[in-house]
Assembly symmetry: C2
Homo-oligomer: 140 residues x 2
Amino acid sequence: MKMSTRGRYGTRAMLDIALNYEKGPVSLKDMAQRQEISVKYLEQLIPPLKAVGLIRSIRGAGGGYTLTRHPSKINLLEIMQSLERTSPVDCLDSPDVCSRINKCATYDVWKEIQESTNNILRSLTLADMMERQRTKSNKG
Amino acid sequence: MKMSTRGRYGTRAMLDIALNYEKGPVSLKDMAQRQEISVKYLEQLIPPLKAVGLIRSIRGAGGGYTLTRHPSKINLLEIMQSLERTSPVDCLDSPDVCSRINKCATYDVWKEIQESTNNILRSLTLADMMERQRTKSNKG
DNA sequence: AGATAATCCTATTATATTACTAGGGATTCT
DNA sequence: AGAATCCCTAGTAATATAATAGGATTATCT
C-alpha cells in the first residue's frame, strides 16, 4: 500500500513548474534546490512526463521546463500514472497474472480502492495544488 | 501505490478461516491447498494476526485456526493493518521523516487517499466478504 | 507409549524493486 | 568560445519483499 518516491517527487516537481507558470521555464537545478531532490534523480522523472505531453523542454542556457497546458487542465492522476503503476495489485492491470480472479472476492475490494484513489487524484488539478500551497505558505 | 502480498494473502487466509467458522479450526495445510499459497509462507502471516487478537490457534493433530470473533465483527482494515504498513507515504505515520510537512501541499493529498482507502477497508467485514464469495461461486 | 498431525520459532536465501549515481553528449544562449 | 542547460544510457547501492528451510513443541488418536 505504498506509493513510490517517483510519484511523490514527480508530483512535487510538476507543482514546482506550475508555480512558475507565468515566469518562464524552470531549470532542474533550481527545482532541485527548492525541492531538495538531486538533479540526477529529477532527470529521471522528466522523460515519462514529457512522453505523455505534460511538459515541454527548452534546451540550452536559460532553458528548463514548462507546462504544456494551463495548471487547471492537468490533474494529479495524469502525473501519477505517467510515473508509476497506480494499481494496488497487478491483477487489476493484467488479469492473466492470476487465475483466481473470477472466484476471488477480494479482487473487487482492491478494485474499489483503486477507483476511489483514482477519483481523488483525478479531481485535483495543479491549479488546486497551487492554491493549497499558497494557503500553507501564508500560515507558516 | 502497491499493496504487498502479505496483505492480500492474509486477507484471503482470514476469509478462508471465516468460511469455516462453524466447522471448526482450519489447518494451514488445508488453507494452503485451497488458496494455492505455500504453508511456509502462510505460517509467516499468522503471528501478526494472532498478536492483534483476530485469530486463535489450536495446536496438535486436528488443530488449526479459528476467528476470535464473529465474522461480522472483523473488518478488513484490522487485517491489513496487522500485516502491512497501510499508509501510502511514510510521513503520514512518522512526521519526523520529512521536514517539509508543514509547507508540503501534496501531504494533504496522500492523507486524503489514505483515509478513503481506510474507510473502504473498515466498512467491509469478513461476513460481507463471505456473502460476496457465495455470490461469486454461484455464478462460476 | 508411540506415531502422527499440527502449530511454533528463527534464520536464511532469493528475487525484485526502488532509489540513486555517474559520465558524457547535444543544444542553445550570451 | 564558454557556460548553462537538457538529454541519454548505464550502472550500482540499498532496501524490501517473497519464499524457503529446518527443527522444536504441543496435542490427538490408536
